[in-house]
């Protein structure tokens, strides 16, 4: 049973249909990859589902069966959805530790006003940051971290969202998490994605590196010019004639 589905998602930017009737079905405990040449609407699709941009048509169905025609960014956490960003969005003039504690603490104004992060929060933060081995950088200002370290921080933040007590996030979107990482960081992230899948999370991955796609994906959707070209398991999708043509550009 799918934990999240999209029905005929639609988005036009001044007349040009960037996402044109895309329907996806995401399942827990699986890594679903979205691939396609540049400008095929992969990132836009994710931005639609996570509320970054409003969609012009179609709907998103989430776990409890509620059908959504409009999603605001601050609602996706309550739907158990969280994400990383194509070009890193972190909080520069704050410490790395604060960047993680931020997502662990209370969300409404009054409770957060009277709450101070406790040892319990610190332990979670330590565990998560150690997993991404950026723990020793915890007191540095994020603006002094390298690009790779910031990418890892974003992933740590997504994992931290999963550790929250009030309802776990189950659907994790990774928008090109590997871009700009060193080889050993790539290995680290790959193992973590697999671990998250085994923990039963639903992972949606947007990535260009075909070896990683082959290694990680349980299910693949291919998008081209905003349309839903092909879907299926990794092997038969990647060997499909149409997909290769779309990539090589006719």
């Amino acid at each position: 049973m799918s934990i999240l589905e999209t029905k005929q998602l639609h988005k036009t930017f001044n007349g040009v249909p960037v996402v044109n009737g895309v329907s996806l079905s995401i399942e827990s405990g699986k890594i679903t990859s979205l691939i396609g040449p540049n400008g095929s609407g992969k990132s836009t699709t994710i931005n639609l589902i996570t509320g970054m941009i409003p969609f012009d048509g179609g709907a998103v169905v989430i776990e409890k069966g509620t059908i959504l025609s409009r999603i605001q960014p601050n609602q996706i956490a309550s739907y158990g959805i969280t994400r990383t960003f194509q070009n890193v969005e972190v909080f520069e003039q704050m410490t790395a530790l604060d960047n993680i504690l931020l997502v662990l603490t209370e969300r409404n104004v009054f409770s957060s006003l009277f709450e101070k992060h406790t040892q319990y929060h610190l332990d979670i933060a330590e565990r998560v940051m150690k997993r991404l081995d950026i723990w020793e950088k915890r007191n540095d200002m994020v603006e002094n971290l390298s690009y790779g370290q910031r990418k890892l921080l974003e992933i740590a933040r997504v994992i931290a969202m999963g550790e929250r007590t009030d309802g776990e996030t189950k659907v994790l979107f990774f928008d090109e998490p590997y871009a700009g990482l060193f080889p050993e960081m790539v290995k680290l992230v790959t193992t973590i994605l697999k671990e998250l899948r085994d923990e039963g999370k639903a992972i949606i991955l947007v990535e260009h590196n075909m070896d990683l796609i082959r290694e990680l994906s349980d299910y693949v959707y291919v998008l081209d010019a905003g349309k839903h070209l092909k879907e299926g398991s990794v092997d038969n999708v990647l060997s499909d004639q149409q997909v290769i043509e779309a990539y090589l550009g006719n």
Partner: protein
């Protein structure tokens, strides 16, 4: 010695203003020019309550905080929708509107005539009429505000404010409705400004709209930018320097009519130099 006490009372009052404004500008990154307006509303509320109903200062103070927070709600509901320079511009507009209302609602505020003869605060049988006793009252309230700002900035709430300053769009993806945070901090800082207003009204015993203009807000903004944004110590240092500087200039012996204008030149140039060489101010940890 009275003169030194007078200076420290002013430093106390403006520290409250600096600390509360730092919450909005330093921690949440919202350049608000309405602070002098709330400072004024607080002062007028206490003055009117004490004069017309003979209410004790401390009750009038609480009521004036409530009144100021409500007016901050009215303004904040609109302002919290804006961002960066549009927010600053909107706050410029509200500062002038608040000043206009103070000046023209003659029935309530006696307009430009101001309200003279405001009584000094009393608590049971202690009267704070001498400067020294008033200084103690000011310092007690200033320390209270210091403690409150420290508490807020160390709470999870304070961390979310900084996240709003850094990247308001992104923090929303993690379940935070930034609008309520921006509105609530705006109201909290206005409430604190009312305390400073109440102290100013009962210390000078006369208030009129000219002390609560847009220029006064700009003076407060200059103070915390000099001291350092997002750092309570910085706000205090900025206040001390900006209050002592004009007094210092009195003794430097500029020819009198030029002395007053020289202060403005120095304020202006200081802002420019700070932005060029040390935008985060002396102690600050945040650059705009």
């Amino acid at each position: 010695m009275d003169y030194i006490i007078h200076l420290f009372i002013l430093i106390g009052i403006f520290s409250i203003l600096g600390l509360s404004l730092n919450l909005v500008i330093g921690y949440t990154g919202l350049l608000s020019a309405t602070h002098a307006g709330f400072y004024g509303i607080g002062a007028y509320a206490v003055a009117i309550l004490m004069k017309n109903t003979g209410m004790n200062f401390f009750i009038a103070l609480l009521l004036s905080i409530v009144i100021t927070v409500l007016s901050a709600l009215v303004i904040g509901v609109v302002l919290s929708k804006f961002k960066d320079d549009i927010y600053a511009l909107g706050s410029f507009g509200f500062a002038i509107i608040t000043y206009g209302l103070m000046l023209n609602l003659q029935g309530v505020t006696r307009g430009p005539l101001g309200i003279p003869g405001i009584g000094r605060p009393e608590l049971f049988d202690i009267s704070f009429s001498t400067n020294l006793t008033f200084l103690i009252l000011t310092l007690v309230l200033a320390v209270l505000v210091w403690w409150m700002t420290r508490y807020i900035t160390r709470s999870s709430y304070g961390r979310v404010l900084q996240a709003i300053r850094e990247n308001e769009k992104t923090i929303q993806f993690f379940g935070y409705t930034t609008y309520w945070y921006k509105l609530s901090i705006f109201m909290i800082s206005a409430g604190m400004a009312a305390i400073a207003g109440a102290l100013f009204a009962t210390y000078i015993t006369f208030i009129d709209p000219s002390s609560f203009t847009l220029i006064e807000s700009i003076f407060m903004i200059a103070m915390i930018i000099l001291g350092g944004l997002a750092d309570n110590r910085g706000a205090i240092i900025g206040v001390i320097i900006m209050i002592l500087l004009p007094e210092f200039l009195r003794f430097v012996g500029f020819p009198t009519e030029v002395a007053a204008q020289m202060r403005q030149v120095i304020y202006g140039l200081m802002l420019v130099v700070m932005m060029l060489y040390r935008p985060q101010g002396i102690y600050g940890k945040f650059k705009f």
